[in-house]
Symmetry: C2
C-alpha cells in the first residue's frame, strides 16, 4: 500500500531543493559517464590531458601561447578553449605556434554555462586529431568557483592565481584549490606593484591540499617558465 501510494502520489513534502539535489545527482552521474568515455579515448591514443582553471584574466591564454611556442618542435599539442562567447582565445593560440590544434568551445551553445563539462569536451573531441596529439590542454572558462568538481577525463588539474588578484584567495575559494595538482602563481612580474605574499599563498594552499605543487612565474618576463616547462615535460614523457 505504501509503495503504491508512494508511486502515484509523491509526498507534498518533496521540495524544489530536494528535486534539485536529485537532478544534480543525475547530471553529475551523466558527467562521470562522459568523462569516463573521454578518458578511454585519451588512453587509447596515448594523449596526456591537463585541465587549466582560474579567474578570468589570470593569464591562462598568455601562458599557453608561450607553452605552445616552446614545445612546437618537441611534441604535438592540442588545446580546447572554453569561453562563454567569442573565438578570440583559440585564434590567439593558432598564431602562437605553427601546427597547433586549437579549438574553441563556446558555452553560449550550452546555456552560457560558467564552466566546461565532460559532455562539451566529448562533443568537441571529434574536431581534434587525437591520434596526432601528445598533450591536450583544456583551458576552462574563467571562473574560480564553478569548474571545480567537474571531472573531464584529465590527468592533471592546474589552477592559476595571478598576483594582482590578491593573496587572500586560497582560503576564500578553497574548493578549486583542494582539487588542484599544481598551483601556478602568475604575473609574478607585478609583485612589486601589488601587496602579495607568495609564501602565504603557498602555505594556505598546502594546508588545504597537502602535496600540491606550487610554481611562481610570469609569461611576460619569462621568470619561472623553465620550471613549468619541466612539469609539462615530465607529464608528457611519463
Amino acid at each position: 500500500m505504501a509503495s503504491l501510494s508512494g508511486r502515484h502520489h509523491p509526498k507534498d513534502g518533496t521540495s524544489n531543493a530536494m528535486k534539485k539535489i536529485e537532478i544534480n545527482k543525475d547530471l553529475k552521474g551523466k558527467n562521470q559517464e562522459y568523462a569516463a568515455t573521454n578518458r578511454e579515448l585519451f588512453l587509447k591514443h596515448g594523449v596526456k590531458v591537463v585541465n587549466i582553471m582560474s579567474s578570468p584574466g589570470s593569464g591562462k591564454t598568455a601562458l599557453l601561447e608561450k607553452t605552445a611556442a616552446h614545445f612546437q618542435d618537441k611534441f604535438k599539442l592540442a588545446v580546447l578553449v572554453g569561453d562563454i562567447s567569442t573565438n578570440r582565445d583559440a585564434e590567439r593560440l593558432k598564431l602562437a605556434a605553427a601546427g597547433i590544434q586549437s579549438e574553441q568551445i563556446v558555452t553560449e551553445n550550452y546555456g552560457s554555462a560558467c564552466h566546461l563539462d565532460a559532455r562539451m569536451i566529448a562533443e568537441a573531441l571529434p574536431r581534434l586529431a587525437l591520434e596526432k596529439t601528445d598533450l591536450l590542454i583544456i583551458e576552462n572558462v574563467g571562473n574560480l568557483v564553478c569548474p571545480a568538481g567537474l571531472y573531464l577525463g584529465e590527468d592533471k588539474r592546474v589552477v592559476l592565481l595571478s598576483v594582482p588578484e590578491g593573496d587572500d584567495k586560497v582560503k576564500k575559494y578553497p574548493v578549486i584549490f583542494r582539487e588542484a595538482d599544481l598551483l601556478l602563481i602568475t604575473k609574478i612580474d607585478l609583485i612589486a606593484a601589488c601587496d602579495f605574499a607568495p609564501q602565504k599563498v603557498e602555505a594556505e594552499a598546502r594546508e588545504i591540499k597537502g602535496g600540491i605543487e606550487v610554481l611562481r612565474l610570469s609569461a611576460k618576463s619569462g621568470e619561472g617558465l623553465a620550471e613549468w616547462y619541466q612539469w609539462v615535460d615530465r607529464l608528457v614523457s611519463r
Copy 2:
C-alpha cells in the same frame, strides 16, 4: 483520460534537461519573490542598494574600504559581503570605517554557492539595522559569470573589471556587462605594466549595453575616486 494518465504516469520522454529547466524556473521564480520582499523592505526604510560584481581580486573590497572611510561622516553605510568561505572581507570593512555595519554571507552555508541570491540577502537582512542605513552595498561572490541574472532587490548594479584582467573580457563575458548600470575599470595604476586599452573596453561595453556609465579608478593611487564618490552621492541623494 489523458489528464488522469498524465498525472499518474509522467511521459517517459521527460528528460533530465527538461526537468532541470523546470526546477530552474521554479528557483528563479522563488528568487524573484525573495527579491520583491527585499525591495519592499529597502523602500520602506529608504535604503538605496548597490550590487557589486566582478571576478575574484578585481578590487571590490579595497574600493569599499575607501568608500566607507570617505562617507563615514556623511551617511550611514551597511555592507553585506558574499564569499564561499571566511569572514575576512567583512572584518576588513569594519576596520575601514567607524560605525559601518558589515556582515558576511558565507555561501558554504548554501552549498558553496558561486553567487548571492535574494534568499541569502533576505536571511542576512535581520542582522542589519535598516532603519539606520542610507546605503547598502552588496559585495557579491567573486565571479564574472554566475551572479548575473539574479536580482536581489537592488537599485543599481556595478561591475568591476581590473586592468590586469585584460581588455578582452567584455566580449568574452557579455552577460554580466549587459546588466550593469556602471562599469568601473579598476587598478588603473597598473596600466603602464599591462597591455590594456580602456577605450576599447568602454566601446565594447557600450556596444553590449547602450547607456552604461564607465569610470576609471584606482583605490590604491586614488585616481578617479572622486567621480565614483559623486556617482554614489547622486544615488543616495536621489
